[in-house]
Amino acid sequence: MKKSLAFISLLIFFVGMEFAAFSQQQRFPKPEFESGYTQPVTSMPVPSNGMFALLDVLVLIAALSLITWFILKKRSRTGVIAVSIFSILYFGFFREGCVCSVGSVQNVVLALFNPGYHIPLSALAFFVIPLVYTLFFGRTFCAGVCPLGAVQDVFLMRPVTLKKWLQKALGLIPYIYLGLSVLYAATATDFIICRYDPFVGIFRFNATFFMYAIGAAFLLISIFIARPYCRFFCPYGVILNLVSRVSKNHLTITPSNCIQCKLCESSCPLDAINKPVGVKQMEDKRSATRRFILLGLIIPALMIVGGWTGANFHENLAKVNSKVRLADEMLHFDSKTMEESLEIVGFRTSGKPVKQLYQEASEIVKQFYYGGWILGAFIGLVIGLALSGLSTYRYREDYTPDKGGCVSCARCLKYCPVEK
């Protein structure tokens, strides 16, 4: 109770501070001048202090270490909640969701494909450090250090278990989202993960109505379905999922030997507990193997179909690029029947020659053609692997976390009656 009151007080303090600062700005509306004075051009804010970037990295390491200690050593769900709330306040509201590990994927890709882009060290650190921790300890980053995951987690109240087949099917979306975000970052088009981050607008109190609505929808869904963004959208989660599968010291449900008491069976809202699989439950080995080989063999075909589809779709993909959009608009602009858009006016006043725009746009479209092939082939590969993976069976005796899907939220720990 005391903890709750302390937390509410802290929250009121934070919100109050922001509110006071905002009110002060409103006290003096801009005056109107009759003398022809023009208001000065709004200047961009100065880049954030380098010290903050260093502090962010240190806080990330500290939070990761602390939460990992809570999960693996203390086996404490309360500790996870405490770190989650801290992450929401610090990485979320205070640092306004930037830099974040989820978005850092794009910085890394952009740096790989554009030699002229120098990736900020903090972005690189935010990409690498959670991966290193995941490699050793599982997805402790997702548990409560990532503000996007944490904010969904605090909203989870009445978890509903989705059908497993549906989870599997929806689980492919993050791979597609990852592929798209890599494509757009590699072509220096956009950081779509950041642009369509449903929670960053809430953290910043600044977003379009559409993004607020998306954020609110995710939070509402989070009340019933655990971490919908993490499970069915997060592109960084894809990478963490793969790395976590080989993690050495992943969280275990039981601190000792599993006694198959089944108490933990329905404790995971993410449905990330592998239940024991007996020989009787498995499919006939011969038919399963035959299907596995068959599905494995059609993977190249799926990749070709996917690549061809992606290549055909490349123009639509390319239209996300602002230069391509502008060039397309310029190309079809008819001064007799149409009014110039702000983008065209802006371009004209920039003085840049139109031929250069067309040349650049043409080059970008070409990049998207090849990118479309690669993206489509990647999606084909993912679908192929998912299909063949669904034809394999593993004998299992104990209740164990699904290392890839488990976000180490530590909810299951207190369900296990076994002591050390």
Binding site: V15, E32, Q359, Y369, S391
Partner: protein, 619 residues
Amino acid sequence: MANKFKINRTNLSLWKGIAMVAGTFSFVICMLVLVNYIQINRIDPVNTEVINSLVNRLNENPNDVQLREQIREMDLLVRKAYFTNQWQVKAGGYLFLFGIIVTAIALQLFYAGKQQLPQVSEEEEENIILFREKARKWIVIGGFGMVGITLLFAFLTHKELGNQFTEAATIAKAKHAETKQTNITIVAKEEITEPVVEEKVVEEALKEEIVVPVAEEEKVVVEEAKTSSYKGTYPSKEMMANFPSFRGPGGNAIAYQKNIPIEWDGASGKNILWKQPVPIHAYNSPVIWGNKLFLSGASAASREVYCYDRNNGKLLWTAKAEQIAGSPANPPEVTPDTGHSASTVTTDGNLVFAIFSNGDLIAVDMSGKKQWAKNLGVPDNHYGHSSSLIVFEDKLIVQYDQKKNSKVMALSTSSGEEVWSTARKVKVSWASPVIVQNGDQVEILLAADPCIASYDAQTGKELWKIDCITGEVGPSVAYANGIVFALNEYASLVAIKPGAKPEILWEAYDYLSDVPSPIAYNDLLFVVTSYGAVACYNAKAGEILWEKEFDGGFYASPILADGKIYLMDRKGVMHIFKADKEYVELAPSSLGEKSDASPAFADGRVYIRGDKNLYCIGK
């Protein structure tokens, strides 16, 4: 173990109550914020019906001070309401967030209190085979659905976007072309009413008719920038009797010759006195001194200056620009529409000066003998250097605006030694310098992104500059009656009152040029666009007096002679019309071959460089 499964009992009714109150509060706030948000989106504070009707009333009765005040008050009110709404939305957002957080905490504590001990599930064992089969089925269905929808969209919206852009780039590139050899001149004596060609007549004309603009009310205000006083007259009588540089003496697009023919026909030979092939094609224009006409031509391998006898068309000599110290082994890459010799040569009557795309600058005497040559460094210019040369007394003025280290310099005409050099913080420019006399000062006027700037021709000191132009500037400036006119495509047309504190008198956006330069004459300004439109502006007020569309498109800059404007279109048809407030066409005369060069004038004759041949037209 007992502790592990201990459930913290909370005051369920308290947290339920808090959750309900906070939830209701959040809902109400959310609705209010939404309503406010919708309201903001529907209101445009600078375009309200009431104010607009009041403004209309004020337009009918501009002296109604009370109405004016009422509009101001109303405007302030509307703006205040708008910003108050914004403030309310933001403040509501904070309150909403606060309410949601309290609701979430209360609900969490409520559900924590309702927690039950873990129980063994009594559900039947999961059928793994069935779940995997279903998952595979839905992944396949999803995959096919995705491919189908993607392909449907792709085929419905497919339009060869890449090819369209490539073609558009090619067209735009061709359009941009060649001339960047624009030029400029600013003849200080704008009020001179075309003195006659013959030297004696010119002298008299100068004495009687030249009105020095400094004496006028609208004289150029450059007094504050006095750096050196100039006692002479620029352009000189000799220059005015000849056609010594691109767009004539000083480069202001005004020729001082009279009795120029307006009718000819290349196909039938009507009024074509002679026609001679030019050895190497280029986009520069002819210049004339005495009986000699000069041109240059260049390819990647060769750079040459030609001298013709303008009376009979005989090629008198060819001077090659070769073996120049510092000249690069390989010429720079240039676009075909600019070429290696887009800059027009210039002469002071003693020497002829030519510059090429690789930075080679050569001075030859009137018999074709090389006097000096130097390499200025390969200009970093993605289309090719095209700024033309111009002479001021004993100084050869070179505008060398490139990607880095742009500058304007004066070289000694006799030795090529640098007399002065002034660094310029500008981007690449293809415009040419214009020289104009303002009182006791001679100014070099240059155009390049981002400014129009003036330099003292004697010292190179920057007199004034004004940021008002952007992009790849091709057109040179024009000058008349103490006003400088500059323009560029996708930027604007500006009239500048020069001086230590230059001001923009007016600005227009209707007709902009990327290649041809304008002409300012008396109170008129003639703007020619590369796509074929020509407009005449009131030079003082900026209003359009007339506009006319032509088919051929223009790259050549027009020249005014004998009160008539000679404007060559890209098909080789010279459009001749009166330099007047109303459009009066005098003649379209065809050359019979394409041309992008500006004409030169001498002794009642017109000299035109065609695509392949040089023409002399006269009666």
